[in-house]
């Protein structure tokens, strides 16, 4: 006989053994993305067409660098989760699905790594 409460049964389980983690992380990063990307849009509006030195010194500012880095992290996690959902929805063949899910992870980490390195390089320069 199962003595667990329904809540305990559902907590942290489900087919993928992670309960609502995917759903929740998608929402948390979505909320974070709103102000972070609004800042980025504002930044691009202000610095589009400006010479290199001006853009680099703006990105050199610790606050700006931190916000851009956070935008990269939140954005990359959000897009990885989203693409994972698309793959799981539309790819029925198991080996193809697993391959694409791995490629999704590699692609996301690669882009995230490149962006973060670039932001930190500018941030630490000079």
């Amino acid at each position: 006989m199962d003595m667990r409460t329904p809540l305990n049964k559902v907590r942290g389980l489900g087919a993928a053994r992670e309960g609502t983690e995917h759903f929740w992380r998608q929402r948390v990063t979505a909320v974070a993305n709103v102000p972070l990307f609004l800042f980025f849009i504002g930044f691009i509006i202000k610095y589009n067409g400006k010479p290199f030195a001006e853009v680099a010194s703006a990105l050199h500012n610790p606050i700006v660098a931190t916000i851009v880095a956070l935008m990269v992290i939140s954005g990359i996690v959000h897009m990885k989760l989203g693409m994972q959902m698309i793959i799981e929805d539309y790819v029925p063949v198991e080996w193809q699905k697993v391959t694409l899910l791995m490629l999704n992870t590699f692609f996301s980490f690669l882009l995230g790594g490149l962006c973060l390195f670039a932001v930190l390089k500018i941030g630490f320069a000079g």
Binding site: N33, I41, I44, I45, F52, A56, G75, G82, I86, K121
Partner: protein, 130 residues
């Protein structure tokens, strides 16, 4: 014996239904999400260019500034704005608001209008700031 799996009846798919605003916005949310996924390459490219020095930065800026580059960036802006507005609509619906038939349809229609208007506004302001 006949192939049981292949003979199973299929549920009707997208093309069976008449497209309605909420459905079109839902599909567009996924399409813009997928587009933004690859659009992140542009953000990464630009950040790498800024970290690589003046010569490469100017080179990438020239590509982004060409008519084709601007077209792609305009599309990226719209996808970002549309996806963000769709996300805000989803937050509201996650909390159980705006689910009534008329209201949800009106909000879906408002989303496409707002995303186009905001995208154009962002570009106007962007050009004025130059």
């Amino acid at each position: 014996m006949a192939n049981v799996t292949n003979n199973r009846p299929l549920s009707p798919h997208l093309q069976i239904y008449k497209p309605i605003p909420t459905m079109v916005m839902s599909i567009l949310h996924r399409i813009t999400g997928g587009a933004l996924y690859f659009g992140t390459i542009l953000v990464a490219w630009w950040l790498i260019a800024a970290a690589s020095g003046e010569a490469y930065f100017d080179y990438v800026n020239a590509i982004f500034g060409s008519w084709f580059g601007r077209l792609v960036l305009f599309g990226y802006t719209w996808a970002l704005v549309h996806h963000m507005l769709g996300g805000l609509r989803h937050f509201m619906m996650d909390f159980g608001y705006g689910l009534e038939k008329e209201l949800s349809t009106r909000l879906a229609k408002a989303q496409i209008v707002a995303s186009v208007v905001l995208t154009i506004l962002i570009w106007i302001v962007g050009y004025m700031a130059r």
